[in-house]
Amino acid sequence: MNTSIENEIWFKQILEHTDNVEEEFPHWLRNYRSSARESAETAIVSGLLPNRKQEGWRYTSLQKLQENTFYLNFDHTEDSISLKREWLSGVKSHRVVFNEGRFDRRLSDLDGLPESCFVGSLAAAMDEYSELICDWVGKSKANQSSIFSKLNNAMFKDGLFIYLPQGMKLEHPIEVLYLSGSGDKLLLSQPHNMVILETGVEATLTERFISINEGVHFNNYVSEVFLGKQAVFNHIQIQQQNNQSYYLNHLGLSLQSESDYRGTFLAMGAAMARTELSVDFKEPQAKCTLNGLYTVVDEQVVDFHLDINHGISHCHSETHFKGILLAKGRAVFDGSIVIEKDAQKSQAHLSNKNLLLSRKAEVDSKPQLEIYADDVQCSHGTTIGQLEEEQVFYLRSRGFSEAQARRLLAMGFAKSVLDNIEIEPISEQLEQLIEGRLTLGDTQ
């Protein structure tokens, strides 16, 4: 572990990167960013930085991350990246591409969007939607207590902005790619994403986080999702970066009455891929479904922290995460449900199932449930296990080799999560991706 002084210096260094786009922003946003900066500075000097003694960072070390010096990408150039077929679903969609955290107009395709909505760059929306953004930015609980979230709030320049007005039912999914890589300098990108769906909106968003080369990069995302009454939002996040990179994602969900959030989270691991997800039920009868699947190979790390807060009655959360651990992979699952005193008639279920396919892999799973109301339906549980030998035998007795049998069973384990993805080409791509990793795992 780094000393606390080294820890401090590293964070200060990041905060010292300033840029000249500041003046382009509206006055209120400059204020917002500078107050976040103050808050970050205070956290740094008062030693409130992540370290292994804190419960949330007990199993995840920042040491390797902090061995690197990262730079913000100030001089964004339209370089020669072209989109690869495996990054896209192939279905008709509205495509938004971010290149090193900046909106890339050339690679995006936003033709055919209905009028009166906005899908694209937050920076570009700043004129027209200034008031809306001002009203909502920072209003979710996208883990504002985290120093990384503070850094993002203090420094972001762009990000995804989606605004769908009342009653809009978007026919095609929105497909977002976040492309990252590094050249001579190791790059840090900190997009700040905002999704605002008004009453009765129905939409699907898929986001993929991709490395374009083998360079070390660091992405520090904050995403804020606001669902109005009766809004239905299908949200798929696919993290598939290289083994050297660092990914931090703070996702805050704010749900109004009868809204329905359906999230599916796929994490393919990195040097560190950490998602901190906070669910905030604002009004009764909202539903939040979180399904997740993580696989780790090599020495990858995946880390999920879920904070599901039932502060309001009659809301329903379903959280089901599965993990497949190969080679020397490591995963952390920390899922916490809190049912507050007035949250009667809450329904909350959380499960985390892990399949350990290697002796050297490790998972730390910590489901937590705190209930302060008396009329609720709740459950939580974790399993960590290996494949059933009976099942392996059964398959072998039908002619499958042992390796084939194990792969098939592991895919079967993953299936229940992939089945939640309604865009078939995406679930097929993911199936292939995972199958490839299982084959890779055989040889390690």
Binding site: Y394, R396, F400, E402, M411, G412, F413, A414, K415
Partner: protein, 250 residues
């Protein structure tokens, strides 16, 4: 086809088979009956290659080769098929692709040409229909949430597809109602051929109302103590096993 000589097998230090002899020629149907704990299921399972057995003495030859040198999948490739008493559920593994991949694996190992998709589907659907197995079950996970009867019929479906030389049926009749029993028996009968043999382990004579065996053996205390034809099963149904102990003792 299968020759078992003086086979002694123990499980966790306890001797289960104590000098078993059995000879099965191509085209023959053999039935093994016997009281609980006599070693019937052990015999069925060890032939399929399941581990956990200590082979103390004796030999098993399958097509004149030492069977014990082959692992589970190699035995499947060579034509041994075990229809299990309790077929295993495989959540998330699609039944249709399981059948397809199993057939591919077996055909590849046997050096046979791969069945094309159209012929495969045709074969599966007609067999499923014959076995009165709802086609919807082909789209579900293997055996997952199937009823007892559906699981048994799914075993016979796999058997029909993989075309083994030696079909071992371990209490396939247990837990079946009379209609299912008849359907399963029809499926088994349809597979009888001059170069395919069957080893049927059962507790009940009633299966033999539908499947006509060539030989009936009684397995007691790890040995085959008595062999006869179909009429032996009827006699056992009437008198139980006790009289045999007395008969063989004297």
């Amino acid at each position: 086809m299968l020759t078992i000589k003086d086979l002694h097998v123990s499980v966790e230090g306890k001797e289960i088979l104590k000098g078993l002899n059995l000879n099965i020629s191509p085209g023959e149907v053999h039935v093994i009956m016997g009281p609980n704990g006599s070693g019937k299921s052990t015999l069925a399972h060890l032939l399929s290659g399941r581990d956990g057995y200590d082979y103390e003495r004796g030999s098993i030859l399958f097509n004149n080769e030492d069977l014990l040198q082959f692992n589970v999948e190699e035995r499947a490739h060579q034509g041994i098929f075990l229809a299990m008493q309790y077929p295993i559920e495989l959540p998330g593994v699609n039944n249709m692709s399981f059948l397809r991949e199993a057939l591919k694996a077996v055909q590849k190992a046997r050096g046979e040409e791969e069945l094309d998709t159209v012929s495969f589907l045709k074969k599966i659907k007609s067999t499923a229909k014959y076995l009165k197995l709802d086609e919807k079950l082909l789209k579900r996970s293997v055996n997952n949430g199937f009823s007892g009867g559906e699981k048994k019929r799914n075993e016979i479906l796999q058997m029909a597809l993989l075309e083994p030389q030696l079909c071992i049926l371990d209490e396939t009749d247990s837990g079946l109602d009379i209609d299912s029993l008849k359907t399963v028996a029809d499926g088994v009968n349809a597979m009888r051929s001059p170069d395919r043999s069957m080893l049927i382990v059962t507790h009940y004579q009633r299966l033999l109302d539908y499947i006509q065996p060539d030989f009936v053996h009684v397995l007691m205390d790890g040995q085959i103590v008595y062999s006869g034809d179909k009429s032996l099963a009827l006699e056992l149904e009437e008198k139980g096993y006790q009289w045999l102990t007395e008969a063989t003792a004297s």
